[in-house]
């Protein structure tokens, strides 16, 4: 399983990429493999204020619906609209075109609660 070293991770299988005051968020390669074929994505709406660990997006595979959580407190800058017409991007390019939303974070210190690649690798064994 691919676990890029330059990203942060949550226990609930989201990846986080720091982009200045914002973070870009998606689900990991491990998570997309567990989910199987993604057929429907509901990204969050722009300007929504969210709390850490709040369910803000839904990813559905053929067999199940899964919630996606905000890793930290912040405001949604953008949801990935392309996933609405091409949900399989989550399977084919989970760390790239399969990103789900961008969040403007309230407090950069919150990111310290997230795990690094080594810790996430250990989690998924």
């Amino acid at each position: 399983m691919n676990v890029p070293d330059d990203l942060l991770y949550t226990e609930s299988h989201e990846w986080i990429k720091r982009e200045g005051d914002n973070i870009r968020v998606g689900i990991t390669d491990h998570a997309q493999a567990e989910l199987t074929d993604v057929v429907y994505v509901e990204p969050p709406k722009k300007d929504r204020q969210v709390n850490a660990k709040e369910a803000i997006a839904v990813v559905e595979s053929v067999k199940a619906a899964s919630d996606i959580y905000a890793p930290v407190k912040g405001t949604v800058v953008e949801g990935n609209k392309e996933l609405e017409s091409n949900p399989a991007l989550i399977n084919t390019d989970p760390f790239g075109k399969g990103w789900i939303f961008v969040l403007k974070i309230d407090n950069p210190d919150d990111l310290k609660s997230l795990r690094d690649a080594a810790a996430y690798k250990q989690q998924i064994g």
Binding site: A31, E34, L35, D37, V58, V62, K63
Partner: protein, 389 residues
């Protein structure tokens, strides 16, 4: 992300039984999940790819978890005709029929296929999760012959004088089985039995039974063999099927394929609280038979009409896939509940089945499915949802 598993796939986290093909699944990299008491492959590579392999070429499923009961003896035929809804007298040797095992209230204990495999010998292929319950129910009624309403204590008293002319055995552990489904099955196998018929033969030293049946809507067969031959048979078919594009398939594709055809899944679409008439499966109930368990109730349901009906529907426009337990609405009022749902890989829109109040259940009716507190438009369709072009 939390992986929320659907009820269909996880009915119990309890003891996990392995089929004789377990090692083959693991070796080929299948994703294994608990299914009832069993651990089964949900997919090998992709549910969508496996689905398409069956629609276009051929795919093979492990169905070793399904149960096989054998009823034999002079009294077996007349007795089974009182246990099951369809008419066994219509079966010549080698023929099978879809039928129901009902409780005293007309509710569905199981849906199954019964084959006449000898003049007085019958094979019942039943759902994995119901095998033990079916056997216990049948065995109890075998002992008391035609008396169906006795308490267990009375049954025990009758055991001593039980009729000896019906043998009932549960052979599930002795057999493995696969379903080989898809249009190219007739290139892979020649001289297949007719639709809904079963034949015994020997293949490379393995005694097997081949039935021309399936759960996918494609031409196909279900093959049963000795559990000890399972791996050999599985690998032989995959090797011979390679040039036809055969794929090993999991329960995920099995579910999407059957749902496109509106074949019911016991435990989701069928249950002891539902009868075959409301499930829209009255075709498999012969009410002209003088006697069978559940008959009186079904006659009444037929007369008054069922309160709810199981109907297929499709999502209109862009919508999340429907899932079991979503509520169904019409003009703001709740009129039913979804029992099965998915994104149809062949049609590329959401499809499902739901029990809907009878007055709202007409084909073509516009309904709404509530998904995460939002209502999405849908239309009641005719069976099957997917028609081969």
């Amino acid at each position: 992300m939390k992986i929320v598993k659907s009820r269909m796939l996880i009915m119990s986290e309890a003891a996990q039984k392995k089929t004789p093909l377990y090692d083959e699944h693991v070796e080929r990299g299948a994703k294994m999940i608990p299914f009832g008491d069993w651990i089964m492959p949900v997919q090998y590579t992709s549910i969508l790819d496996e689905h398409q392999a069956v629609r276009k070429n051929v795919g093979m499923f492990d169905i070793s978890h399904m149960g096989q009961l054998i009823a034999e003896g002079k009294g077996a035929g007349p007795w089974l005709n009182e246990m099951l809804t369809n008419n066994i007298d219509k079966l010549a040797v080698g023929a099978g029929q879809y039928t129901f095992l009902l409780n005293d209230k007309g509710g569905i204990i199981d849906d199954l296929i019964v084959y006449r495999i000898g003049d007085q010998k019958f094979l019942l292929v039943v759902n994995a999760s119901r095998t033990d319950e079916d056997f216990a129910w049948l065995d109890r009624h075998r002992l008391v012959g035609q008396v169906s309403n006795l308490p267990l204590a009375e049954v025990r008293k009758l055991e001593a004088c039980a009729t000896k002319d019906i043998d009932l055995t549960n052979r599930s552990k002795d057999f493995g089985g696969v379903a080989i489904q898809g249009p190219k099955v007739t290139e892979l196998f020649v001289d297949l039995p007719e639709r809904n018929h079963i034949a015994d033969l020997e293949l490379e030293g393995m005694p097997i039974s081949i039935a021309r049946t399936g759960y996918t809507g494609e031409d196909g067969i279900e093959v049963f063999f000795r559990a000890s031959d399972a791996a050999k048979f599985w690998n032989m078919v995959l090797e011979k099927g390679e040039r036809f594009g055969i794929k090993p398939c999991g329960l995920g594709a099995r579910d999407t394929l059957r749902l496109e055809m509106c074949y019911p899944l016991n435990g989701s679409d069928l249950s002891p609280e539902r009868n075959p008439i409301e499930a829209g499966l009255g075709f498999f109930v012969d009410l002209t038979k003088p006697k069978f368990i559940g008959r009186e109730v079904l006659l009444k349901v037929k007369e008054t009409g069922p309160g709810q009906k199981l109907v297929p529907f499709r999502m209109d426009g862009k919508a999340p896939p429907p899932r079991p337990h979503y509520s169904v609405f019409s003009n703001g009022g709740c009129i039913g509940e979804v029992t099965s749902g998915t994104l149809s890989p062949s049609l590329n829109y959401g499809v499902g089945m739901a029990y809907i109040n009878a007055p709202h259940s007409k084909i073509g009716s516009k309904i709404e499915i509530e998904i995460r507190l939002q209502k999405f438009p849908a239309t009641i369709e005719k069976k099957p949802l997917y028609k081969k072009s």
